[in-house]
């Protein structure tokens, strides 16, 4: 199903290339802001250009991975409003599985390109010494980051079971919040750092694991240094929670008899 939808998007080649280019310009705006600030002020809260690039790379690459799997959840409210969800319910497959594989997003390819570039550039510039442990931990971090972001998307979509509409919430939680972790979490006030660690654990997507890769020690960590390794665990917890909420929502949806 993923491949089929990918093919359908590739059909219009010129359009595809143009869209891809437009996405690069769009992200250049985002990256440009960070680059301008870091070059002007040398560092952001002790994070140099290379380290900022690595931080950004982790975020964008994992975002691309998440988008491949969960992109179609962004528009979940339309399933609710148009009643398309009922169509999924009558099929003998898990409704979530059907939604997840229904759309392929070009944006994720742009994410991979930008993410990989940022990671390579950041790793070189910051002089990361790739030990065996780091090489092995990188894919684990990606899986954990995808689980965190996917779990959050699931939870946000599940809200639509109750409120029908959730597009502003999706926008805030999925996109605006990303803006927060483009910068080192240590720039925020303590309560926000706690929030981003314990309540809405986006800091595990890039901030904490970066400490391990960049050998930053515990300088600007609010918690025990062990936290650098907790991304996979956090991912599992968040995803289980998201899936649980989703199932609760589905039970409610069915019991209302829509």
């Amino acid at each position: 199903m993923i491949i089929a939808s990918m093919r359908s998007r590739m059909e219009y080649k010129l359009s595809f290339i143009f869209m891809f280019f437009a996405l690069l310009v769009f992200y250049a705006g985002q990256v440009g802001v960070v680059v301008l600030i870091v070059t002007k002020f040398h560092h952001i809260a002790g994070w140099t250009l290379g380290e900022m690039a690595f931080l950004y790379g982790l975020l964008v690459f994992s975002q691309g991975l998440t988008a491949i799997l969960f992109y179609s959840l962004n528009d979940f409210e339309s399933y609710m409003i148009n009643g398309d969800f009922d169509r999924l319910l009558v099929r003998p497959l898990n409704p979530l599985g059907q939604i997840v594989s229904s759309k392929f997003e070009i944006a994720s390819m742009a994410h991979f390109l930008i993410g990989t570039t940022a990671l390579i550039f950041g790793a070189q510039k910051a002089g990361i010494d790739w030990t065996l442990g780091k090489v092995a931990y990188l894919p684990v971090v990606f899986i954990g980051a995808v689980l965190i972001q996917g779990g959050i998307r699931l939870a946000v979509s599940a809200v639509a079971f109750w409120t029908t509409r959730n597009s502003s919430l999706v926008h805030t939680v999925i996109y605006s919040s990303k803006e927060m972790i483009m910068y080192p979490v240590s720039i925020y006030k303590m309560w926000m750092q706690v929030f981003l660690t314990l309540v809405f654990p986006l800091a595990f997507v890039n901030f904490y694991p970066s400490h391990y890769f960049l050998n930053r020690g515990a300088g600007d960590l609010l918690f025990h240094p062990l936290i650098q390794y907790l991304t996979p665990l956090t991912g599992t917890i968040v995803f289980v929670f998201g899936y649980w909420l989703w199932n609760q929502g589905m039970v409610r949806y069915q019991s209302v008899g829509n």
Partner: protein, 295 residues
């Protein structure tokens, strides 16, 4: 709401066939009542999604929070911060006002594209009104709603949360009103020009993304233009973006004043004229294309 208006209009014009003058007057009252009815309905619709509304306000505050934190972290540790002409207090005010002005200029930039694509634009063309001004009026209406429901509450929260001084000079406020209005027009015309692209191609979303990317960085909405490297300045100066956010923000926080301000407002005004001309050009050639094709 826009669609509802079109429907209402269409329904009423049909009834105009073979009626006397008196009935016509009566019909006019009906139309007015209908409009008010629709407006009321759309207002109710807005209210129905309270949750959406609060999230929207929250989103604006979140961005203000991010950028004020960012500048605080930078200005407390960077050695070059002192050489920029900004203090922590000033840059904080900049971040807050830039975001509030940005929200105050929120405009609907999809409805025209959707209309052109679906062909519904022809319904607007046969109306005895200029589409540009009609759209502008609609946009201003939405903006007023935004001022009351988003800009004002966000501003109140910022007043409580941050130490920002509000300028008291009436001259400054007059100047700001002019600059805001011109900036608003620029933003509107920029959206209009990008919407006109839909007459020629379906790739409007890509164009919108590019516009958004350029706007993010060059409007000064996040970083004041002062922080840009020297070699980028010629490029920034040939783009209209800085006159949308950077100029109004700089004027309200007192960063730009006096002759400098007057000069920049003059350039801003030229941009409004120039882009107005471009809007008119694109609209006429775009609509001609539509008519020729019999769209």
């Amino acid at each position: 709401m826009i669609e509802a208006k079109i429907n209402g209009k269409a329904a009423n014009t049909n009834r105009f066939d073979s009626v006397t003058n008196e009935e016509r007057l009566h019909g006019f009252r009906n139309i007015l009542a209908l409009y008010i009815n629709f407006a009321g309905k759309s207002f109710q619709q807005q209210l129905a999604y309270k949750f959406e509304y609060f999230i929207g306000v929250f989103n604006g505050l979140l961005f203000i929070f991010i950028f004020t934190s960012l500048w605080q972290a930078i200005f407390e540790s960077s050695p070059v911060a002192g050489t920029t002409g900004f203090t922590l207090q000033k840059i904080t005010a900049y971040a807050i006002f830039a975001m509030i002005i940005r929200i105050s200029m929120t405009q609907d930039d999809v409805s025209t594209i959707a209309k052109i694509r679906s062909g519904a634009i022809s319904m607007d063309m046969i109306k005895p009104m200029n589409y540009f001004t009609m759209l502008l009026a609609e946009c201003l209406g939405q903006t007023l709603f935004h001022w009351a429901t988003r800009v004002f509450p966000i501003f109140m929260v910022c007043l409580l949360a941050f130490e920002i001084s509000i300028p008291s000079s009436p001259w400054l406020w007059t100047m700001f009103s002019v600059v805001w209005l011109l900036g608003y027009m620029l933003q509107f015309m920029l959206n209009f020009i990008f919407a006109m692209i839909a007459f020629w191609t379906v790739e409007t979303f890509s164009f919108k993304l590019m516009k958004y990317g350029l706007f993010t960085i060059f409007s000064g909405g996040i970083i004041p233009i002062d922080f840009f490297p020297e070699w980028l300045m010629p490029f920034i100066n040939i783009l209209p973006f800085q006159y949308i956010l950077y100029l109004p923000t700089s004027i309200i926080i007192g960063h730009i004043s006096g002759d400098m301000a007057i000069n920049m407002i003059a350039i801003q005004f030229c941009w409004v004229i120039g882009m107005g001309f471009m809007c008119w050009k694109m609209w006429t050639s775009g609509s001609r294309k539509l008519v020729v094709q019999g769209g």
